[in-house]
């Protein structure tokens, strides 16, 4: 690893300024992706801008409309906050899934998203939860649906000088359930071979909205819109869920690599989506 400078700005505007003046800079949240990549020489920086000290990126607040999750809030704060964990149980569960205890003390959901790995565990769930990204840059602020954020393996939609400030996740409420499942060969310390994040909203025993997103079966986390839409207007029974799972599997565009052959991954998309939907429906019914 080459030498680099380090700065820890105390505000978003300071961070934006530093970023603008230093084109060779990279942003550091928990560093659990970035530092590993730098040590493996996959990334290099002249300056690391630690964004953990900017209050805007550290916000974790719940209101009637939903949750504001600062981009560098570490995972342990998500599952450690009782109100957040009660309102967004699936999110709290994913925060507890990423890495182990030490990693969760540092790793952020925002970092998981910005790193733009196809296998990122939080991203399918964020898509299923209809999260929106708040982005700040030299030209001001903008917003974006989370499913549009990742554009290629390791690449996101941020332009030069832009920073992800926070995620806004709308409140679920009664009749809403979400769930994320991943398949890994070990029981810990592994990267998803396939992941499936789902949500359903039930109204009067019928699905009024549903979303399915998949990890590790495309160059980016994949929003399988048709799979979710297929449930709308139906009772969430086994046949409806099976059909959604089949559509998720059909939407997948997996490759074969050391984590699993393509055909196997496609198969797992169906299995995991069925299991995740079953759990989400149970949560939606339980939460009414």
């Amino acid at each position: 690893m080459k030498w680099f400078d380090y700065a820890a700005p105390g505000s978003l505007s300071e961070a934006l300024g530093l970023l603008e003046r230093n084109p060779g800079a990279l942003l550091l949240a928990g560093g659990t992706d970035l530092l590993v990549q730098m040590r493996a020489r996959r990334k290099q920086a002249d300056l690391l801008i630690d964004v953990k000290k900017a209050p805007e990126l550290n916000e974790l607040s719940l209101d009637a409309g939903g949750l504001t999750l600062g981009a560098s809030v570490p995972c342990y704060r998500v599952y450690g906050n009782r109100d957040v964990a009660r309102a967004f149980p699936a999110l709290a569960e994913v925060a507890g899934l990423i890495g182990g205890t030490q990693i969760q003390g540092r790793a952020s959901i925002g970092g998981n998203l910005c790193n733009a790995a196809p296998s990122a565990d939080a991203v399918p769930l964020l898509i299923a939860l209809s999260a929106r990204c708040r982005i700040a840059g030299p030209g001001g602020e903008r917003e974006m649906a989370v499913e549009d954020f990742c554009v290629a393996p390791g690449r996101n939609a941020l332009g030069a000088g832009e920073i992800l400030v926070s995620l806004r996740i709308p409140a679920g409420g009664a009749g809403f359930g979400a769930h994320y499942l991943r398949f890994i060969p070990r029981n810990e310390m592994d990267i998803a071979v396939v992941g499936s994040g789902v949500s359903v909203r039930l109204e009067g025993g019928v699905v009024s909205a549903a979303r399915v997103a998949l990890a590790a079966v495309a160059p980016t986390p994949l929003f399988a819109r048709e799979a979710g839409d297929s449930l709308v207007g139906k009772a969430p029974d086994a046949a409806a869920i099976e059909e959604a799972a089949r559509l998720a599997s059909a939407a997948a565009r997996p490759i074969s690599d050391m984590r699993g052959p393509a055909e196997y991954r496609r198969h797992l998309c169906g299995v995991l989506t069925r299991r995740a939907l079953t759990a989400a429906v149970a949560a939606a019914q339980g939460g009414k």
Binding site: W3, P185, E188, Y264
Partner: protein, 753 residues
């Protein structure tokens, strides 16, 4: 536990425990010295390439760099010089060529050049500035591919040895040997039931947590001092001396604590390079490997390709067996196919056997020993087929094995006749274990069993014991301690001296300070160094009797010693009382022994495994696992159990997920502990153990050695359990989720498979 002993068979706290649990133990990465420089090794990005040109000028000029070395800095290796570094004979050019490549690189990760600098980051940055022109050559990555005519040839000077004879054939097959006993053809003709199969196992790594490390100082007087983590300080001494063309007396090796080895920390990789860098700089140089270096640049265990066939009569008597074993040596000859052939049918008494073994070089890292090297691969095939045979015969799988089990007097196809062994006792213990008859407790579950053998080795060991005035003794040994052997060796001395284990203070010392001692490997240390400690302790007892005789003015022969109490003619003194008075007699008492023991006792192990297979994902969960092993005599039962658990876990990892995942150009793409997927604590049940004791009659305490046989059964036991759970026969390791899923799919499309 046997009551004839007071120390042997007990469970004292280990002597090195306090240092280990407080973090005070000094491992290779902790070692430092005044003026220390840091080395970095540049490795080949190609699996097979000719080195056309190396230009180190930019690296040499980089600020902070003190020296750069390549193979040109090593003394030339005369092409025909053969050396024996404790693991059989090898051409020196191969040993040297693996340390720093010259002319050609033979695998991705092959060391090519090294830099010493003021810190490791500068060394790495500078090393990346070394310019190397490679002419990339086609590579060959598996034994069957490397054996075919027209395969890319790794060593132009390698001539195939065929059935003991040197030939002129240029080949990647360095050796083809055959063991024959009886008449296999006739045997198979008599067989009423025949099972056979083709098996593959992937290259796997031992996976010790501590990466390789070495610090070397080439002193101004010409002596080289090496500090490193190794299983054999004398092997490092001899290999370093060989590679650097120095007399052995010019090299002193101080072994530091070792964070795991399992066979992989026997060869030298870094030591000669650190020494060369030290020679150029006049300063001590330390080199630490990264995890990627460990995977790509050290010795994993061979991938293998096996065809095995077993024929039996209807009553279950096996009448013929045949094996064809091709093991991947990696870049240089020496795949552990010899041991594989020794073990493949060792558990059974079979009259007609033929075994063919092929040692094949491929463009992967040069393989090293790994816990019963070669035997696990072989047992995966044999023991899976034994399960199939039992099913075909309608016999209980343990009964089938008992009906054919090797006993004292049984001859192995490779020649030796077994002395007293515990194969039957291990099988009986498995049969009687509550696990074997317990309900499975759920759907998609199955149980499998398998057994395995490892012959263990002897090799020389030395030991001295000096008596302290307070009645304790200091024990000096040369066996590096990778599994609690300080204690298991000290306990054998304590037993002889009538002391408590805590009263024997063991120290593992450098190569200048103790007689030659072979590697800590082959399950030999408690056996052979323990034997040396026993003999050295007897030497102490003899001298203490003389001292007592002197004090009591008695004849030395009249003095008796019983559990540390010396008596003669109404006089009586404890060891401690005598020790306090040795100053009055003729000065210090030092006992010593150097042994090269015969009478090695092989060890059998068995495994009972319960698994649950998710029929939708193919994922196997080990729900219960029992390891049974014949220890001969368990000196310290906790450490025996620890070995059994460790070997079982490594076998489970090998079986289920571990593998070198190679891409088409010969690069390992999963060279991290994240992607290599060894089992974590969350992937394992508690491993139950049952020690069987069939004492080795040759050893003073009956020790056999327990470090290895326990890894042999797990892959086959799990394969058999997966078959019981999911109805599929797995022929390839690892049996990872996609592989099991695919087998389940195949079964559902062809219902009778």
């Amino acid at each position: 536990m046997s009551t004839q002993y007071t120390v042997v068979g007990t469970r004292p706290v280990r002597h090195d425990g306090a240092d280990k649990v407080t973090g005070r133990a000094i491992y290779g990465g902790d070692f430092t010295a005044a003026g220390l420089l840091h080395g970095f090794i540049l490795r080949s990005p190609h699996a097979h390439a000719a080195i056309k040109r190396i230009d180190v000028s930019k690296a040499t000029a980089y600020p902070g760099v003190k020296a750069v070395v390549t193979a040109d800095d090593m003394p030339p290796a005369p092409g025909d010089k053969i050396v024996d570094l404790g693991e059989g004979e090898t051409p020196l050019s191969y040993v040297r060529g693996n340390v720093l490549a010259s002319g050609k690189v033979l695998y991705k990760g092959h060391a090519v050049a090294a830099v010493a600098a003021v810190n490791p980051h500068v060394a790495e940055e500078a090393a990346r500035l070394i310019e190397i022109d490679y002419e990339v050559l086609p590579c060959t990555l598996t034994a069957p591919d490397a054996m075919r005519d027209g395969a890319p040839i790794l060593h132009a000077d390698l001539r195939m040895k065929e059935l003991g004879q040197k030939t002129d054939r240029v080949s990647n097959i360095s050796d083809h040997f055959r063991h024959v006993m009886g008449d296999a053809e006739k045997g198979f003709a008599e067989a009423e039931v025949v099972v056979e199969g083709e098996f593959n196992t992937s290259t796997v790594h031992q996976g010790y947590i501590e990466p390789h490390n070495a610090t070397a100082l080439w002193n101004n007087d010409g002596r080289i001092h090496v500090w490193c983590s190794t299983q054999g300080s004398f092997v490092v001494r001899d290999a370093t001396a060989c590679v650097l063309d120095q007399p052995v007396s010019q090299v002193k090796v101080t072994p530091l604590e070792i964070g795991g080895g399992f066979g992989g920390k026997i060869p030298v990789y870094l030591e000669p390079v650190a020494a060369l860098l030290s020679k150029k700089t006049g300063r001590p140089v330390r080199i630490l490997m990264s995890r990627q270096d460990v995977f790509e640049g050290t010795g994993p265990t061979p991938g293998s390709h096996l065809k095995v066939k077993i024929g039996a009569r209807r009553d279950g008597k096996i009448v013929a067996a045949q094996a064809w074993l091709a093991y991947e040596a990696g870049a240089y000859p020496g795949a552990m196919v010899g041991p594989g052939a020794m073990c493949v049918f060792a558990a059974y008494d079979i009259a007609n056997v033929v075994i063919d073994g092929y040692d094949v070089v491929v463009n992967k890292p040069s393989t090293a020993a790994y816990r019963a090297p070669g035997a696990t691969n072989a047992a995966f095939a044999t023991e899976t087929l034994m399960d199939e045979l039992a099913a075909k015969l309608g016999m209980d799988p343990i009964e089938l094995r008992l009906a054919n089990a090797a006993k004292e007097g049984t001859r192995r196809a490779d020649g030796p006749k077994f002395r007293k062994i515990g194969c039957v006792e291990v099988l009986q213990a498995m049969k009687n274990h509550p696990h074997y008859s317990a309900p499975l407790g759920g759907p998609n579950r199955g149980r499998g069993v398998a057994i395995g053998f490892w012959f263990n080795v002897g090799l020389p060991s030395s030991c001295t014991i000096s008596v302290n005035a307070d009645g304790t003794v200091n024990l000096v040994e040369g066996s590096t301690d990778i599994g609690g052997t300080r204690t298991s060796v000290a306990m054998q001395a304590a037993e002889v001296l009538g002391l408590r284990a805590e009263e024997v203070l063991p120290t593992v010392v450098d190569t200048d300070s103790v007689g030659f001692t072979g590697v800590t490997g082959g399950s030999r240390t408690t056996f052979a160094t323990g034997w040396a400690a026993h003999d050295a302790a007897q030497d102490v007892v003899r001298q203490m009797k003389e001292r007592a005789a002197k004090l009591w003015e008695a004849a030395p022969e009249s003095v008796t010693c019983e559990r540390g109490v010396y008596q003669s003619n109404g006089h009586s003194a404890t060891f401690r009382e005598l020790a306090a008075r040795i100053g009055e007699t003729s000065g210090p008492v030092v006992g010593r022994a150097a042994v090269n023991p015969r009478g090695v006792g092989g060890s059998f192990a068995g495994a009972i495994a319960d698994v649950e297979v998710d029929p939708e994902t193919g994922k196997t969960t080990v729900v219960r696992f029992t390891s049974v092993q014949d220890a001969g005599r368990a000196i310290h039962p906790s450490y025996v159990e620890g070995q059994m658990q460790g070997g079982s876990v490594q076998g489970i990892g090998w079986a289920l997920n571990e593998e070198y995942f190679m891409n088409g150009s010969g690069a390992m793409v999963n060279s991290s502990l994240l992607d290599y997927r060894m089992p974590t604590a969350l992937d394992l049940p508690m491993i139950d153990t049952q020690i069987v004791e069939v004492p080795n009659p040759a050893h003073p305490f009956g020790v056999r050695g327990v470090g290895e046989a326990n890894i042999v059964p797990p892959p086959a036991a799990l394969a058999n359990a997966i078959h019981a759970a999911a109805g599929v026969r797995m022929r390839r390791l690892p049996m990872n989720p996609p592989a099991v899923m695919e087998a389940i799919w195949r079964k559902s499309t062809s219902p009778d498979s």
